[in-house]
Symmetry: C2
Subunit: 332 residues, 2 copies
């Protein structure tokens, strides 16, 4: 039985969608048990009937979605659903944590409570991004766990994301590109130049060289390696631009009768686009480099997105990704 | 008379569109003279009739659009249209340079040939980005001139972009935000933290704090300050996502009869969106911090875009922006 801890209070639609996501997941997978961490009375409102593979672990506190100082929050909210789940992942009471709570807090809890593997210099947040190619996804590693990066961190990001892509996403020989300001060799700051040399020298990494921000969602590679600072800037620029552009299109369409009729005709096409670009279809971002899988689901996750994040946690546990990362880095 | 040097050989559609752009500009503005730098025989093909305010400065070489090593190219292509124009801007024979040629080469030529103002620590490339708000543009400074940045550079970027926004874009008290991984104070690496403190302490800068990649094109501020590395990543992520998304929409629409009919109805709406998001309407990016205005027009510029870039050069010269930047930084 794979034991998954779900932060039932995390996310914009918690605990209703987290509880529904847990039910959907246990119905889909008969080899998982889910512990719902959170305020028992709140959780029970949405539990239609008891399930022998779902239990509640009552916690008194909830970390707010808009928490300002994540590291402080982890110390202050010791009895929160997020921190308690992370503690139990550290001790081995559960095998993985899934949370749609505040990203910064979950990175802090993953790092400070679940704790990094000793072979890993810094944990990295690795979301799976949709691309414009059908059924093609790209892992970004790191999207913001470690902003002050060193070349060695980027090298490890390339290595551990490759393991994750191989094991969980079933990509046999995942291609890795380094986010940079040009595609030629020798571009970027010292950080990128030195990271490039380290990654290129490792025959276990299928390195294809530098890539630019303009191909972030082009679906050309399996893994994009970045420092947490620029990875975060790139990811949010992509997300923000998609959102801004789609809202601009909607506004334009609604500004005329002609547009409204056209929009009606195009509803199925736009629904397909939305589905294709929807990150919730593929689960959440995984915090790689800590001693148990920690999955960050999107804050706006519904039950389907949470079910997919649970699926991702289950896969990561069953493929023993944490141990494989530890071994690969130990062998260096 | 304002003397503008146009790199007639720079850009994907040169020299036809550059020559047409020059004609459009002299017709529009009677206070400018244009020198067309490039291969005389090539240029003359597209000169319908002589114009007393357009002359040709023959150069033997052209810097290729896909040049790999910009600094090397500047030394190798001494008699290129781009380098010659920059030389003449340095000596004062012309007042400003406009080029749609290779970005890296133009930054190198601006820095090494036109040369930076002694008060400026590092030049910065400042494109004017369209936003989803109508008639609202945002200056990004730096978009890639200086990748290895120090806090002081970012502070100067805030200061010089404010002068440019005030003088050329007629924004009285331009708002400035610092590109970062979170909106709260204290976010980012040491570079952002120290730059934040410097910018916040200067009462001449209308600083509104940190902003994230997700609001790059939201049109919330007049100026976004960044180091050249992350500014470049953000800008290209925005451009690439817009392009990828619009091509995905097109593909989806063309995949069914229903979509094709809808697309036909929506043609005017999509044309408006395209126009609103079109950078060519506002000119090019300016290289700030060098001793004469150097305008980088988009590589795919047509004559209209080039005319707008020439307009921008004219404005920058007539408002004496270079001297104002020099004075403002001298006064520190």
């Amino acid at each position: 039985m794979i034991k998954i801890g779900l932060d039932a209070m995390g996310g914009d639609f918690a605990p209703e969608q987290t509880v529904l996501g847990a039910y959907a997941a246990v119905e889909k997978f008969d080899d998982i048990e889910i512990s719902l961490y959170g305020i028992e009375s709140e959780i029970q409102k949405f539990m239609k009937q008891p399930h022998d593979r779902i239990k509640i672990v009552h916690c008194e506190q909830v970390i707010p979605m808009d928490v300002k100082d994540p590291a402080m929050a982890i110390r202050k909210f010791k009895d929160s659903s997020m921190v308690r789940a992370c503690k139990d992942a550290k001790t081995g009471d559960i095998d993985a944590v899934v949370s749609a709570g505040a990203t910064g807090a979950l990175i802090a809890a993953g790092t400070l409570v679940v704790k990094r593997l000793k072979e890993v210099e810094r944990p990295a947040l690795a979301p799976v991004m949709p691309t414009i190619k059908e059924n093609k996804y790209t892992i970004l590693c790191d999207a913001g766990a470690t902003s002050d990066a060193k070349p060695q961190y980027l090298y490890q990001n390339a290595k551990i994301a490759s393991i994750y892509a191989r094991e969980v996403m079933n990509i046999e020989n995942p291609t890795v590109a380094l986010l940079n300001i040009g595609t030629e060799d020798g571009k970027g700051t010292d950080l990128q130049k030195e990271a490039f040399a380290l990654i290129a020298a490792d025959p276990t990494i299928n390195f294809v060289g530098n890539m630019e921000g303009k191909t972030m969602i082009a679906g050309e590679v399996d893994i994009i390696v970045a420092d947490g600072y620029s990875g975060n800037i790139a990811l949010k620029s992509v997300e923000g631009t998609s959102k801004s552009l789609l809202s601009l299109i909607k506004e334009e369409l609604m500004s005329s009768t002609r547009g409204k009729i056209g929009a009606l005709l195009l509803k199925p096409a736009f629904a397909r686009i939305k589905k294709r670009m929807d990150a919730s279809e593929v689960g959440g971002g995984i915090l790689l480099g800590v001693s148990a899988p920690v999955i960050k689901a999107h804050g706006s996750s519904d039950s389907i997105a949470l079910m997919n994040a649970i699926r991702q946690a289950r896969e990561t546990v069953s493929k023993d990704v944490v141990a494989k990362i530890s071994q690969a880095l130990k062998a260096e």
